[in-house]
């Protein structure tokens, strides 16, 4: 059996296991272990396994995963979304379609302390959907907006998916976060623009509301201020080069917890449970879901490590990379082809699973291509943001948009088809953004350069 046939057999075996509901981490591990055994031998495999768990898990950067997951749990449980939505609504709710735009802005703000789109969508929908219904916004517009807005949860750092990418691609997490910032802001403004145009072109979906008084605006902003403070602390700390990602996550989690405690204290004193917050008991309850999600990621990373080791023995990923690089196709076309391939497969497979499966094969190829003369590191960062954008689209696009189901679960009277119809106009802005990011890598890399400059200043000062 040639190396290529062997690698194909490994990948095929793994896919077969995955197709019959074997957990992805387990399927990768088994296929990888069998391959390694066959190629290198049983003693070598048993020796390799001795150090695998420690070798894979004793990674400094892995610690950001449970910390950011906990931070998102605290933020969701404490009901920070209500304050964010009310503040955004007080400022821009009076525009035509402004309440929906406030929903998008609040999602973006929540996304800046939460790394999950599903969590952002769920917590924001609970607050914003009833309000939009009360103000006679159409179901189509309000549910579509929330499904799309919630997807900003992974686009805007911190982002759990981006952390996983950074770990798999062996890239600096902070640089990937810095790279995600400008595309995230671009996405937010794209959605705001789509809403502004849509409600003016298609009548009957949004109403006009009276302007809030400055007194009420000031009050709403003040209520949301602690969340803004957490964001600023993280932003300045991480991108200013003061913290590592882990230290930022630790401080952000602690700050979120303090705000949540303070909210509970005030809610109890005023006697209004609407004010949210969490107590010690509720804090402890946040740990179990975070533990489950952390382990889910860790198991997958373990399987991926075994599979990658076996594939590396066959040297097929490198051979494939060389072959594609020498094929004479324009490099940008190859990257675009990858993205299209990814989007197509994402309608069948879960996007995260897809990234885990494809990255070991795709990334060496991307690194072997000559793209705008970028260094390997910049290529990996840029491609990571492209992957993230494509995954984000997969969360809202038919046939299986996870976010759509999250919204449908809350807006139970709205048919799925109606939500998808609400999403369609936004997909135009998403498509445009992917093209922009693909053609102009500077949009992505500007954030990285800014961070590198700040970090260098920091080092010089020390």
């Amino acid at each position: 059996m040639s190396n290529i046939e062997f690698a194909l057999a490994l990948v095929g075996g793994m896919l077969a296991l995955i197709a019959i509901r074997v957990p992805i981490g387990g399927a990768m591990f088994v296929a990888g272990a069998v391959g390694y055994w066959y190629k290198v031998g049983d003693i070598a495999l048993l020796n390799y396994l001795k150090g695998l768990a420690w070798g894979r898990f004793s990674t400094y950067d892995l610690s950001v995963i449970p910390l950011f997951l906990l931070m998102g749990q605290f933020a969701s449980a404490a009901g920070l979304s209500r304050r964010l939505f009310q503040a955004a609504n007080a400022m821009i709710g009076h525009f035509k379609g402004g309440v929906a735009q406030a929903g998008v802005l609040a999602c973006a703000a929540f996304g800046s302390i939460c790394g999950s789109s599903v969590a952002t969508t769920a917590t924001m929908s609970q607050v914003a959907l009833p309000e939009m219904k009360r103000l006679k916004y159409s179901d189509r517009l309000s549910t579509g907006t929330l499904a799309v807005g919630g997807s900003l949860g992974i686009l805007i750092p911190p982002s759990v998916i981006l952390i996983i990418y950074a770990l798999l691609a062996e890239q600096n997490i902070v640089k990937l976060f810095a790279a995600a910032f400008i595309p995230g802001i671009l996405a937010t403004f794209g959605y705001l623009a789509v809403l502004a145009i849509y409600v003016r072109l298609v009548p009957g979906h949004a109403t006009e509301q009276p302007r809030y008084s400055w007194k009420r605006r000031a009050h709403a902003l003040l209520e949301a201020a602690p969340i803004g403070a957490i964001f600023l602390l993280l932003f300045v700390g991480i991108y200013g080069g003061f913290f590592t990602a882990t230290q930022g996550a630790a401080i952000g989690t602690a700050a979120t917890l303090l705000v949540a405690f303070w909210m509970k204290y005030r809610a109890k004193r005023v006697g209004n449970p609407e004010l949210g917050g969490i107590d010690l008991r509720e804090m402890v309850r946040c740990f179990l879901p975070a533990a489950q999600a952390t382990a889910m990621i860790f198991v997958v990373l373990l399987g991926a490590a075994m599979m990658n080791t076996a594939l590396a023995v066959t040297q097929v990923p490198n051979a494939l990379a060389e072959w594609v690089a020498d094929s004479g196709f324009p490099p940008l076309l190859i990257v675009a082809g990858f993205l299209v391939f990814f989007i197509l497969l994402a309608s069948v497979l879960d996007e995260l699973a897809l990234m885990l499966l494809l990255l070991p094969i795709l990334l060496p190829t991307i690194l072997a291509l000559d793209l705008f003369g970028l260094t390997s590191e910049y290529k990996a960062i840029w491609f990571g943001i492209l992957m993230l954008t494509v995954i984000e689209i997969g969360l809202i696009a038919p046939p299986i948009g996870l976010n759509v189901y999250v919204v449908a679960n809350i807006a139970r009277t709205v048919p799925i088809g109606e939500i998808y119809r609400g999403i369609l106009p936004f997909l135009a802005s998403d498509f445009l953004r992917v093209v922009l990011l693909l053609l102009i890598p500077q949009i992505t890399l500007a954030g990285v350069w800014l961070y590198e400059w700040a970090d260098a200043m920091q080092r010089a000062a020390r």
Binding site: V30, A53, S58, L62, P66, L70, A250, L288, A290, L395
Partner: protein
């Protein structure tokens, strides 16, 4: 009929394994909290008093490796792994149940194999006297703390494969996407 069996097995073996998994998860949570507090103390100490925690990197690495393995049993117990269900959407409940038992068996083999090798490694690492660079923490301690989580997760997967642990939905689970 199967419903009754499920509610009964909440006690007995299932209750013990599930309870252990939950306590392991809380222990892992405590380790993560310790990592968080240590990192915060480190950074505040560094910037305010120029006295950082020595060897903070290796303390985090030690902690996260242990915490990660302590979380796996709970993830296994609530069947929280990433599973692709696209190809089996139209399969009958009976088929799904069988496939999930097979999936649990695969996880059991993987985790027990890994747990066994980690347990063996405790002795070889101990004999080799490997330590971390700055604080000279003995690495065999980390292996010792990591092995129980992996083995417990393997046992839970085995119980699931044998139908001794009923399918439990993820309790207020969190999606990472």
């Amino acid at each position: 009929m199967p419903k009754k069996a499920r509610s009964e097995s909440r006690n007995g073996l299932h209750g013990i394994l599930h309870g252990l998994a939950v306590w392991f998860a809380y222990a892992g949570g405590a380790v993560v909290a310790a990592i968080g507090i240590m990192s915060a103390v480190h950074i505040i100490g560094l910037w305010l008093f120029s006295s950082p925690v020595r060897g903070d990197f290796e303390l985090v690495e030690f902690g996260i490796a242990i915490a990660g393995t302590l979380f796996i049993p709970y993830c296994q117990a609530v069947r929280g792994h990433i599973v692709v269900d696209f190809f089996t959407q139209h399969a009958s409940a009976r088929t799904i149940e069988l496939l999930d038992k097979f999936g649990a068996l695969v996880m059991a083999v993987v985790l027990l194999l890994l747990g066994w090798r980690s347990a063996i490694a405790i002795f070889s690492i101990y004999n080799a006297g490997e330590t971390t660079t700055l604080r000279e923490l003995p690495i065999w301690i980390a292996y010792t703390a990591m092995t129980p989580g992996i083995l417990l997760a393997g046992l839970i997967a085995l119980a699931q494969a044998m139908g001794l642990m009923p399918a439990v939905a993820v309790e207020n689970g969190v999606e990472i996407k």
